[in-house]
Symmetry: D2
Subunit: 443 residues, 4 copies
């Protein structure tokens, strides 16, 4: 079976590259993936998947870090201009750009695969040394770039979708494909989980191209030590006053923010695990001689566990409230991103490793890495695990032109077909009809 599958996948390799480059050319940041999602939806529908889009896939009230309404409108128009189906875009109004697609292949367990689609707020370089530019698929959208590989993830998702249909008869169970918006800033998973994306799932798998697997033909079968994290936007609003004539009439938002920033960093370490707190930006005031009436901060907390991160966020809330009280200013705290901690299931890691070994695709198999960073795949995985299922997050090796989120980021497109084949093998092994001999003939 391996050979045959491999052959099939290789057949679609050009298509995978084409998908990837198309997504790369029209990158879309979190909650604005109107074109990407419309394209994916069209293909999934064509392939016969039952597709939930918009409000059926995303719980509006659980979306985090959504751009303002006007900005979303602009992106909807842009997407249509860039070839998106207007009716599908309309369905995603408000940024509801998530997709849940399902294919029922008979009675059996449900396997979910999750792919993220969003790009980064980075200007792609127009330089010869940068392959996407040199080969003509660099970003058409100023200030936005696929610098993390999610263009590849989305392409892999479509490749898997296409192949699954081909081997449908060999399976007995359900395939669920989840295309998630807003992974950057951990903004999107929560709203899809809240809409049921992880319900009824027995196995969930996610993967990232590259990261700690920076060589081709390398596979990390499971990832853990995902940090829980929260992203908070805080603003203080005071009252301006002339700094010379009547400073006492002012309510100083800048000082409230400065005081908060210091004390936030002084939040006590936690005895049960590591924490992080960063006030990444602080902008306050309007003129040298005016008591500053407003201040804004972008804050990030992390915790080794969800509980520890909650401790951090609660401490942040107290400090912001206290600083506002001190200076008689109003404040607002917005959670614009948040995810929990997580661990891949050891049993599934073992299974993945066995399967991967069988494929002959990899020269190096690593059981597990500690991530020490955040990914909102944990929201899906933890839900599945709580319901008795298993999940794992893999890293699929790829040689990188530069690190993730760097503007020279690029990966080796050979990873695309390799990833599709791996995922198919995993699916076949998890819900295939005859798992023993693992020989499957498809024509």
């Amino acid at each position: 079976m391996n050979v045959k599958l491999k052959g099939l996948v290789q057949e679609i390799e050009p298509l995978l590259v084409q998908y990837r480059r198309n997504f790369h050319k029209y990158p879309e940041a979190g909650w604005t993936e109107f074109r990407t999602a419309a394209k994916i939806t069209e293909i999934l529908l064509e392939l016969g998947y039952s597709v939930k889009l918009g409000a059926d896939a995303v719980s509006k009230s659980d979306m985090l870090g959504v751009p303002p309404e006007e900005e979303l409108k602009i992106h909807m128009n842009r997407a249509v201009k860039q070839g998106a189906n207007p009716e599908l875009v309309k369905e995603m109004e408000g940024g509801l750009t998530g997709i849940i697609a399902e294919l029922n292949c008979g009675e059996g367990p449900t396997v979910a695969l999750r792919f993220d689609m969003d790009a980064n707020d980075i200007d792609e370089p127009k330089e010869e040394k940068h392959r996407p530019f040199r080969e003509g698929f660099s970003s058409e959208n100023p200030g936005v770039m696929h610098a993390c590989g999610h263009d590849g993830h989305a392409a892999i998702g479509l490749g898997v979708a296409r192949m699954i249909v081909k081997i449908k008869d060999l399976l007995q169970g359900k395939i669920r494909l989840i295309f998630q918006p807003g992974e950057e800033g951990v903004r999107g998973a929560k709203a899809m989980v809240a809409r049921g994306a992880a319900d009824g799932v027995d196995y969930i798998l996610g993967a990232h191209i590259g990261f700690q697997a920076t060589k081709n033909r390398q596979l990390i079968c499971g990832t853990g030590h995902f940090l829980a994290t929260s992203k908070l936007d805080v603003s203080f609003t005071g009252i301006p006053a002339h700094a010379g004539a009547a400073p006492e009439e002012g309510h100083n938002a800048l000082l409230a923010a400065a005081c908060a920033a210091l004390n936030l960093h002084a939040i006590s370490r936690h005895g049960k695990g590591s924490t992080r707190i960063t006030v990444g930006t602080l902008n306050a005031g309007q003129a040298r001689n005016v008591i500053p009436p407003h201040a804004e901060m972008k804050i990030e907390t992390r915790g080794e566990t969800t509980e520890i991160n909650e401790y951090m966020v609660n401490s942040v809330r107290d400090i912001i409230a206290g600083a506002a009280k001190m200076y008689g200013v109003d404040y607002e705290i917005k959670i614009v991103g948040e995810t929990i901690s997580g661990e891949s299931s050891p049993e599934l890691i073992t299974k993945v490793k066995d399967i991967a070994q069988g494929t002959g695709l990899f020269t190096e198999l690593i059981d597990y890495v500690s991530f020490g960073a955040s990914e909102d795949f944990t929201a899906f995985m933890t839900t599945v695990q709580k319901n008795g299922g298993q999940g794992t997050y893999m890293m699929i090796g790829s040689q990188l032109a530069s690190g993730h989120h760097d503007y020279y980021f690029d990966f080796d497109e050979a990873t695309l077909a390799c990833s599709v084949e791996l995922l198919l093998e995993i699916v076949v092994n998890l819900i295939g009809k005859c798992q023993e001999d693992r020989i499957i003939n498809i024509t």
Copy 2:
């Protein structure tokens, strides 16, 4: 008349010195003036004054900065051992050590004179170079010393009391003598004013030996620019925790206090007048490796006007509350001293200057000084002024051994008789029967 009065006063000069040295030997800090007040009361009663003591002179609920009950008890016992009348001491239970004495000399205006009686929390030096020690009248009460001259004030008060009785027939009006506890830390005046000490008064006079009048035979006739001030004791109470094992379980009172201290000093300047804020002491924590569960601060605010000081105190309250909120600790703010701003009445200043000139007692007469500090005489004076009366606060020149509140402080006792004579002349001129010729014969 002047000559005659002078003669009389000189007669009692030895008595004044004896009073002063007696008070100096048994100094008593604010609200513990049991012995001093008992001695004064006995003499006033003997002289025929109608005397209000204890709850009749002091409003319990308006007392500021009162020592704890047990400490007061200890002082009551000490006072009795040091010769105080036990019954009078009993009447002052709870620290009600103020005295309002009145002598009715017929229909006419009421003139009030105010004298403060309390000593400082200072250890008096046992050194030959220090006259009170050399001449055998230095403090018998460890940790307490008359280092501001209130022993002299009390002696002057008794001298005036004694002389007024002698010249009673020359007067038409009422004389009220107010002996105030707890002037240090501006703690006592409020409670006496609340009990009516300043009611019905037409003229009120207060005086301080020395201060800006540091030469004998110098008189400052009026003082103004008294700063309003508040003295606050602030405590924070958190929860201790092991600093290594579980720091997150602590609620850090030290950090709340440190944060408060910084932000208190950052209270905005006021456009309408000068302000002061000082965290004079901060003591927090119990051990190097325990999250500090308690912290205490002694704070002082000042304002050019009562309103400005109120702005300061309100800001202090907000900052303390905010700092407590930040660190999840409890707090308590105690006002342990407070007084308002004030200005001597220009008309009375002029009158006093004229009278002083007539006495020939002084070689230098200064109309007015700006105080730039605080004295709770303002509580009496402002009440009198609000009711249509006049008040002034004088400084009576005296060569000092060292500055006020220094432990080598001592004044020239010649000032005592001079002060008594000045005050008598003022009284005679304000409510004397024949003011025109100012010649009064007393025998």
Copy 3:
């Protein structure tokens, strides 16, 4: 003579309005007054004044708050496009836009008049209710507006220049006209004083339209209690680091700035006079999850005296250095504006009042107001006073459409001729040939 002068002045009233509106239409912020200064220079040269421009009028090394070279270049081009003489503009390269013009009218004292020329960084409203827009002379330069009246000051200066020539024969002494750039932010005077603008002057006069004189025909003859002030731009430069992976590798400029901001506001009050400190703006950081590598603050100090302001600036320097040390970051402190305190000369105030009375121009004459704000006219005035001369700063009444620096600011143009006449009368009285009868015939 008064009448005659008045007649003459009224004659040129239309010209004054024309000048003012021309300057208003092409407003130029501090050190970019290329067009304004070129226009003024051309007229002064035409009138026969000896004119110093560029490096002869401004000491380059003493200029404060100068825009970057490229920005200056852009403004030079703009100015030429807007009609400035290219050669004169060339002479002012680097922003040296001050002018010192002199007319020698024989042996006698030197009278200097100072006019400021710069506009504000404000967008002028394009609204019918705003007269400059309605009558077609609102700003052609986006983001810049004459919202303080310096357009009027410059016009008055030209009016005076023109009239002085007419009455030249009546005078015996020197007239010096100083046109100053960059008064906003107190940036320009220092560099002109350093170049000798105030040297050899016996009388110096400055004036502001409006301010505390908000009614037509009102004159404030002298101003004092000018606060010394410094404007500081502070930047911190640290090292960025990933906030999750290696926060300890960062050197946090945001925290250095936040810490500095708090402690700056906590600089101790001063016992000898009032102070101000304001961190008006703070901008720091680049992304939520990056240890912030840079921070910038705009700071302002004030002091009741130059010494007190120096105390403030020295304290600022210590705090900035300390905060940088704390966080291992570099810092830079730039003084972008600064001026000393000052007081008008009482004798000159009296003279001005007498002269003003004689003119019949005013219905309300006020001797003196306390300014409580800052104006770098003090740099000229104090130099003159130190050299034995006299100076005063007047406020010439004018009904205002809205307060200074508000974008609806506008003044009553009747003030222009009134001001010219007042200044001429003052000149004639200070260095006129026959001062006794004050009757001068000019034809």
Copy 4:
């Protein structure tokens, strides 16, 4: 052999209890263990050990947190009064209270055992419920109490010393017994290591009664994850000034300390391991109305590794220096305790476990615990390990009356004999002549 040894040990059990109670009755805090060390030295000499005391055992310049000279003098006198040999006490002048004793039992490896001797700054309760009081051996030294079990450690050390001599002929190697002062506050080990206490050692063993082994007959064979730590005393010295009259003349030590405290807690977390920072106490100022001229803080840092702790201490130094600069105050930083991180040697843990198993003394054997706290045994152990040797730190189970450092702390004295036997078995197994059959007859 086990049985025989056991019998012998049981024989001396009463002696062990007697030792322990004697030490308990005369507890001595760090660097004042004059009596304890003199008693131990006398016994060791008597037993035939070669003993180094005073300057031969402790490097004066490496002692941390030594009390002032006068205090040491008082303790020397006290010790003599409490029965210490005056000549030995004299040898320990300056607090050099460490002992290195050695017994040469032939050619072979060197085994070192380390025992700490110091008590805690705690008042022992005089209550019936507290056994040491009830049974008459509670502290005679006010404010000092053995509340951590070091009295037991010292007694065990003497027990081992005595037994080793008995089985001397069975051994081939060297025994070194290290009695360490000042373990509390991690003050003593460094100075003994600097004097060579750990040089030439092949195996080093340390043990603590109780801690995480709180049941009798429980043994933890190895401990790791010792945190590196530093204890710092910081003082700031400024200049006092009257808070009302001339606050600007003060240099505010309280604000420097408050600012430092906040920023110390804001030291960035470390990406490579956990950290701790605690300002445990802060005491500043002298009076409410005086700018505070002095402030003192007790600080503790910890790091998962020695490098991380160094990062913390360096950050502390920068922040203290910066805060002092801010407020123009002087500062002093004293390291009063410090130790490095450490890990027990896995091979030795395994050996200890095997040996312990063979003894039959324990019902529960735990390989390893993570300590997460600090012990300066690491200074010895790490030195031995660097030189190619092995070390381990054990916890020997004992039922406790209350937790360590609590004033009701007490342990089960049955632990004493059990510990002595365990240590002897370890020694015999490490350097015994015939290790195979482990049957040794001693009579």
